[in-house]
């Protein structure tokens, strides 16, 4: 029998016992028996030049909701938040939202052009940019439509779908203030049009103040080159602002004296109110949070006793200052603990130890940030916006913990 055959045999057995465990079967695996992995040799160092997660984690993947969009090319998939730890999103699990599909861009054929109201229009290759002083910063990115399916009532049963259009990474790149200094922005250069090289030619107007404050052109994410899904070879980073503005496959920055009112800042990414008026330029992602455990994906099925309630909070305005947890549908609140590091415009993990006796509960998290802003309820958001604004739903979310430990997405009055 070859080593490879043995490995395959053990994998099949392993999957079977994982299933048995999940089903709570009496025939659970016995970890104390001799194991194949303790007897036979594992794989060498040359079979997997780029590593992949354990086969036992195969369920931890991005998922999409086919009925949301006309096709999967201009669509979205969601980060599996319930299975993530800490505050970093692994690159392969970062949510994807494209308007013209995932572009495959050859860096040798790609340039970044900066022109318009400047003294010296410049063109940069990826190699040019990498020679410049760079910074590495942690930021969350959230699609403006995160939670958008929940405006009219509880719809999707899982935090992957209710909140998974958010990810958080360390980005490496050059600050846009550095590039703007190199081209010499004219005094009336108050707006920047960012444009992608993809089939959507994604374009957004960004105020110069924000560009100079903390925007970057990034080429790396979590220590490696950007993935094609996130804009390889370069993308715009607009910390705290809606994800659509973080133009991927970025090829052009034009400096102008007024906004462009592109399709993605008029037809889309504007927030229709009940009276028929619409807010535009709603860039900031307000303070938001979600409990990721327990959740529909991570129920407490018949597991009474000690649990950690755990989740993620974030704010596009600054740093998360605290998170409160309610067990009774928002009547009373208990401050949770924040797990460091707590950084501005970055996901922040919170947790609270809890002893569950099998009681039914309506659990919620409510985050507040260092500007004093407190995450609102659905009732508060709906009273100002109605239910047709699609974007920027940061309402306090409720999980219904049932007596058997099952968890459901619900909304309350």
């Amino acid at each position: 029998m070859t080593n490879a055959l043995n490995r395959r045999g053990f994998l099949a057995a392993g999957a079977a016992s994982a299933g048995a465990l999940a089903a709570g079967s009496a025939k659970a695996a016995n970890p104390f028996e001799p194991k194949e992995w303790g007897q036979y040799l594992g794989a060498g160092v040359d079979d997997e030049p780029y590593g992949t997660p354990s086969e036992f984690e195969a369920h931890v993947v991005r998922r999409n909701v086919p009925w949301l969009t006309a096709d999967s090319v201009s669509s979205i998939n969601f980060t599996p938040l319930a299975d993530l730890e800490g505050f970093i999103t692994p690159n392969g699990l970062h949510f994807e939202r494209h308007h013209g599909g995932r572009a495959i861009v050859d860096p040798a054929e790609h340039r970044l052009m900066i022109h318009g109201l400047v003294d010296k229009p410049l063109v940069f290759s990826l190699e040019d940019l990498k020679r410049l002083p760079s910074v590495s910063r942690f930021y969350f990115i959230e699609c403006a439509a995160n939670g958008g399916m929940e405006w009219r009532g509880a719809q999707l049963n899982g935090c992957q779908f209710t909140h998974g259009m958010v990810s958080c990474c360390q980005y490496t790149g050059v600050k846009l203030s550095t590039l703007m200094e190199m081209v010499g922005v004219k005094p009336n250069g108050k707006w920047v049009l960012a444009e992608g090289a993809d089939a959507a030619g994604m374009n957004r107007s960004i105020p110069m103040e924000k560009i100079m404050d903390d925007c970057m052109i990034a080429w790396a994410q979590n220590g490696e080159a950007l993935r094609p899904a996130q804009g390889y070879p370069m993308r715009l980073i607009v910390p705290g602002f809606e994800g659509n503005m973080w133009v991927k496959w970025i090829r052009r920055l034009e400096i102008g004296d007024m906004p462009w009112f592109a399709r993605e800042e008029t037809s889309k990414y504007t927030d229709l109110l009940e009276d028929g008026r619409a807010r535009m330029f709603t860039w900031v992602q307000d303070c938001n949070s979600v409990i990721t455990r327990p959740s529909p994906e991570k129920p407490w099925l018949d597991r009474r006793g000690f649990h950690m309630i755990s989740g993620l909070a974030w704010s596009g305005r600054g740093a998360v200052k605290g998170v409160d947890i309610s067990l009774d549908g928002g009547n009373n609140w208990i401050p949770a603990d924040l797990e460091g590091p707590v950084m501005p415009k970055c996901l922040t993990r919170f947790s609270l130890p809890f002893e569950w006796q099998g009681q039914e509960m309506l659990i919620q998290s409510r985050a507040y940030d260092d500007t004093g802003y407190v995450q609102p309820t659905f009732a508060q958001n709906r009273s100002v916006r109605g239910v047709n604004s699609i974007y920027h739903n940061n309402s306090v979310h409720t999980w219904h913990i049932k007596p058997d430990g099952g968890v459901e997405n619900v909304q309350l009055v």
Binding site: L122, V123, Q155, R252, G330, N409, Q411
Partner: protein, 210 residues
């Protein structure tokens, strides 16, 4: 490890500088000056004041056959949308209704956006293949189907941005900092009324299965 000065000189590497003498250079010589023809090749954006509109012209009459040929399979013969593909026409007066229909005619604030978007992104899957004349004609067709221009009205670089869109006045800049300045952090007895579940996701049963 230290290299003797003579060794360094022999290698032609005589750049030994003491920390207090080190001059940090400023950035120079990185990036190439963008040439006018390079800028022209990429600078396709159009603004509400008409800046960026290329020279060209077209009428809805010119656009009708082209729309049928290159757009209608997704957007319908009259922009009414096929299946789940976007609806481009109609929906006028629906923005305050229970199910608003946001289309070019009912929602968009500027015509410039229509030119800018079609020129860069449509037809979906074959972008940046239309000439300026074709985009004027297709835009004219979509606007005519929305009763915003006449069927035989010529649109060109001089008059295109002047056309007023019916919903223009209904857009306003983000005011959340004032209208949604939530700052109350109630800790106990926050809900006077009874708490009831009004909707539960499993009842809808629209969550994708594993």
């Amino acid at each position: 490890m230290t290299l003797g000065l003579t060794g360094l000189l022999a290698l032609g590497l005589a750049t030994s500088v003491l920390a207090q003498d080190y001059q940090r250079p400023s950035i120079s010589g990185i990036g190439a000056v963008a040439q006018p023809e390079q800028i022209a090749a990429w600078d396709i954006d159009v603004r509400p004041d008409g800046l960026g509109l290329p020279v060209g012209k077209g009428t809805a009459e010119d656009g009708e056959a082209l729309f049928a040929d290159r757009c209608a399979m997704c957007h319908g013969d009259f922009g009414e949308g096929v299946g789940r593909w976007p609806v481009l026409t109609g929906g006028h007066g629906s923005l305050t209704e229970e199910r608003p229909e946001k289309t070019v005619g009912s929602y968009w604030p500027y015509t410039s956006t229509l030119f800018d978007y079609i020129y860069r992104a449509m037809p979906y899957g074959d972008a940046k293949t239309l000439s300026p004349d074709e985009v004027y004609a297709l835009s004219a067709y979509i606007l005519a189907e929305n009763q915003i221009v006449e069927y035989d009205q010529e649109l060109n670089q001089d008059n295109f941005a002047q056309i007023e869109m019916p919903n223009r006045a209904n857009f306003f800049a983000d005011d959340r900092a004032v209208s949604e300045a939530y700052s109350e952090r109630c800790m106990s007895g926050c809900k006077a009324e009874d708490i009831n579940i009004v909707s539960a996701a499993p009842e809808l049963d629209v969550t994708p299965e594993e």
